[in-house]
Symmetry: C2
Subunit: 605 residues, 2 copies
Amino acid sequence: MPSPIQEYLQQLHARYLPITEGKVADYIPELSKANPGHFGICVATRDGHVYEIGDTRQAFTIQSISKALVYGLALEDRGEEHVLSRIGVEPSGEAFNAISLKEGTGTPFNPMINAGAIATCGQILKKDGKNRIQRIMDYLGAFAGRGLSVNESVYRSESSTGHRNRAIGWLLRNFGILDEDPDETLETYFQQCSLEVTCRDLALMGATLANQGVHPVTQQRAIAADYVDNVLGVMATCGMYDWSGEWVYRVGLPAKSGVGGGILAVLPGQLGIAVFSPPLDSQGNSHRGIQVCMDLSRELSLHMLNPTATPRSAARLAYHGAEVLARRRLPPSARELLRRHGQCIRVIELQGGLIFSTIEPVLRYAAELATTLCRHLIFDLRTVVSANAVSVNLLAELCTKLAQQGVRVLFCQPGRMLVALRSVGISLDHVFSTLDAALENCEDALLLEVSGASWRPRGRLELGECPLFRACTAEDVAFLRQELPERGYGAGTTLITAGHTADEMLVLLKGTVEVRIRVDGSNQRVDVLTAGMTVGEMAFLDGSPRSADVVAQESVECVVIPKAWFDALTERRPQLKIKLLQEMTREISARLRQANLEISALHRS
Amino acid sequence: MPSPIQEYLQQLHARYLPITEGKVADYIPELSKANPGHFGICVATRDGHVYEIGDTRQAFTIQSISKALVYGLALEDRGEEHVLSRIGVEPSGEAFNAISLKEGTGTPFNPMINAGAIATCGQILKKDGKNRIQRIMDYLGAFAGRGLSVNESVYRSESSTGHRNRAIGWLLRNFGILDEDPDETLETYFQQCSLEVTCRDLALMGATLANQGVHPVTQQRAIAADYVDNVLGVMATCGMYDWSGEWVYRVGLPAKSGVGGGILAVLPGQLGIAVFSPPLDSQGNSHRGIQVCMDLSRELSLHMLNPTATPRSAARLAYHGAEVLARRRLPPSARELLRRHGQCIRVIELQGGLIFSTIEPVLRYAAELATTLCRHLIFDLRTVVSANAVSVNLLAELCTKLAQQGVRVLFCQPGRMLVALRSVGISLDHVFSTLDAALENCEDALLLEVSGASWRPRGRLELGECPLFRACTAEDVAFLRQELPERGYGAGTTLITAGHTADEMLVLLKGTVEVRIRVDGSNQRVDVLTAGMTVGEMAFLDGSPRSADVVAQESVECVVIPKAWFDALTERRPQLKIKLLQEMTREISARLRQANLEISALHRS
């Protein structure tokens, strides 16, 4: 099926394909050889899907676009304050090749003009046995997700005509911005500008910046998360030379252009966008590139300053402990206690990214809960995608304060957030890997509080103590004891196998069993049953094959009710059979009611 | 319970409270009277919650902060291109009171310097019987959520000393940027700068910009959504004078300061932040204000260019038609068909804000579904908070393309999105207000496709045709017919009332009934039953009171099974009672199985 987005990009490409305005860069002979007809557009998503149309696989030199990325490497090598002491971050209002250094200090206005870019290049360390250009190639390669190489003829051409840049280099040396004679730095700079990329590479570089610095396909980190905003910051204010203010105003995407004809734009947190078209306008930006970016921003509503889909609260769903119970069977008395007191347990399911503004409403909501019956609060973090340090700290402070109010806070998370929670001092006793485990912990604590005793049966039950036989007379029980065989299972053995015919039903007298289904090759617990409970009665009654495995968690003893015996009971002792059927129906009805309650809670939004 | 966020702001306030650097503005006597000790911090959320500490209710004059907001009014009055032809949007790199007009055209560099602000003020129309300052007061009042007034003594002081601004006014007149002599415009400008606000007002103004232009408390629109990005754009690039580049780099929040000591900062889509502290630094920005904003941005990770919580896909959950069914009871045969063919129905639940990047993965997913068994696709939009035009257009194009693949697309939405869906040509036959209605539509269509007939019973059933009596012999049926009374109900009448004792059970022979519970004062449908089905059997069996109302949707006929009669059946015809109990258990078991399937699907994430 053709994608509406692909079709849109095709239309956009067709719209500007006939445009021939602009002039291919000709300050060096090699660049003037570029084909003015080349035209490609790429949009890369944060999960690495790339929409592309036109000449998106055509190699060309990265030129000034490298300035933005290499600035990130300088920050990583030297730290923010050192770099800021050498290179400013103010728009200059001047052309790209202006020798604009600040009075007195000689610092270039920003890293996007040539002076600033050469100074930036000079900050890169030789390290790990690699020289500067090797490190730059590795660094930019991580953004592209593939190895990059220098176009040697463009490099030689840049180097042999780079007199103005040499003048800038010596001025920087004069002001002490460069620590050594500029020759090597300049050669590195010329090579850096001559790295070959494609439009597709640029879009993925942009997506890497949009994705907090991690390449969306290779999952390799290209730049420390802390410096992403710095790189995008200089792109936003200085990326488009003396058209930067209007660019932010109209397009609203941090961007950088190069005289090779490329433009790389980023919608922070969302998209990387690249356009390739060699003819340049009078400001040195790709003519078609600018038009395409303006149309894309307007037609797809991509302006970063008016985001309409910013998440609100991270809370996706909230329910209480009488609505959703752990996946285990409780005896009727315990179920009744949870029905009455379940409001003391609250579950708040969080989702998406946790940051200040998504966790802030959650803190308010939790503070309100502390004024209600709630005494056990579970944060279900299983669908949380990321959590920054601020949000985790705030959660930890919330826990401390709620504990002072007598509210215990538990977390359920699938492993990803364990380190973060531990780092802020949350006890691992309060962290669970499944919601069931967290719910069980709260339910057991609550049941103990309200009843003063554990709900778990101790030792072996007598037949007459099992709910199924509740309506039976002593004589009935004696009959059953005589008629029904008993059976034992060792820990880990299987009582019931999914797919088998249900020719019997079991009543547990001792021990615990787990009901499991196989999902994607692994076992998933769907129920846990303890002494007194009936095992496998649904398939037994309706004749369908077993739907799940039942495995003994410990040594188990049970009474077996064979189907043939149960069938014959209709004639032999119909009144007894009626009693049994009524109890079974009552039990299944109670579970259906609970399931309906849970469905309502889960459908709530 | 003390909020961790409030405590953080208290610490931040205490950190800078002792700082006395900076100098209160003294270019007019009135401003020099400001108390340098005043210090307030406010953070306002997009839902209107305001955290405040210190002197947040102290009135002071808005000064240059008004420039940013009045620029929005000029855009609304004159349109973007007209305003851009008079006032640029490039950072000037110069001080606030520089007379920096572009060579040739005389256009001020941007609306944040005095020249640009005076030119902007001159664009405001006299309208609706109101003069300029009245319109400006109304406009800024909508941002604050309350009426604002001019501090007359500050205004007179500004006016009597505003010689430099008068010079600027006449220069603007000279270049034709102002259409009339500048006197009135200048007086309006002086009044505009003398409007009194509090720190709290500024934070709510910021929250209004963060909230796409709608005041979070009053819910009044203060600025057209289309111009929010323009106002924030000039704040981002020009808001902090010649420190704007470094501000974006370090703080990353569009902001505007005023010599009254206020700073207003915005985290687009999320927060409004305001600081009030009159002592200014050498650039004319509040000294403590700058420090506080830098700390807030760093310590709460608020830099707009590295958002870590941008939503990914709008899809929250997906399931198929064998997992979640409409809330109605189907006959066993229809249930079995849905179990086998339910994969032909797919539900995708969307949430949050629909924009290009959140709907894009949904389009990809839907295109994949078209290659599976899926023939009916429901988009559940009930938890969609907003949808921009791009996303709705893409959904409409998706529908067209899926229809070509033989996939019918339906929408479920609670009214909010009806206009938007209709505007892109989606037939209202495909839009439903509840998920049940959409599911029913798909289930009925699917059942008709696979069975060639409607599953709905026609006419009146005989007793023996009802599933409950499936195992009965002809003699049993004759006995039942003789023993059990029949009863009719008119459309709209109540068969069963919640809370009542369950002293009978009904078997429908004809007509449809709806099972409803009351939630927050309104009725919510939980089930629909048709001829052949058993009504009220659960409370009947377990002795609990009725949990729901049952109301006839049309004229209904049924057989009544009184509890006393059913109890007596144990002695009178035990074998018949066993047959009935077994059928009831089988039916309830089947419903429990289905409920468990639905719970698994809803818990999936």
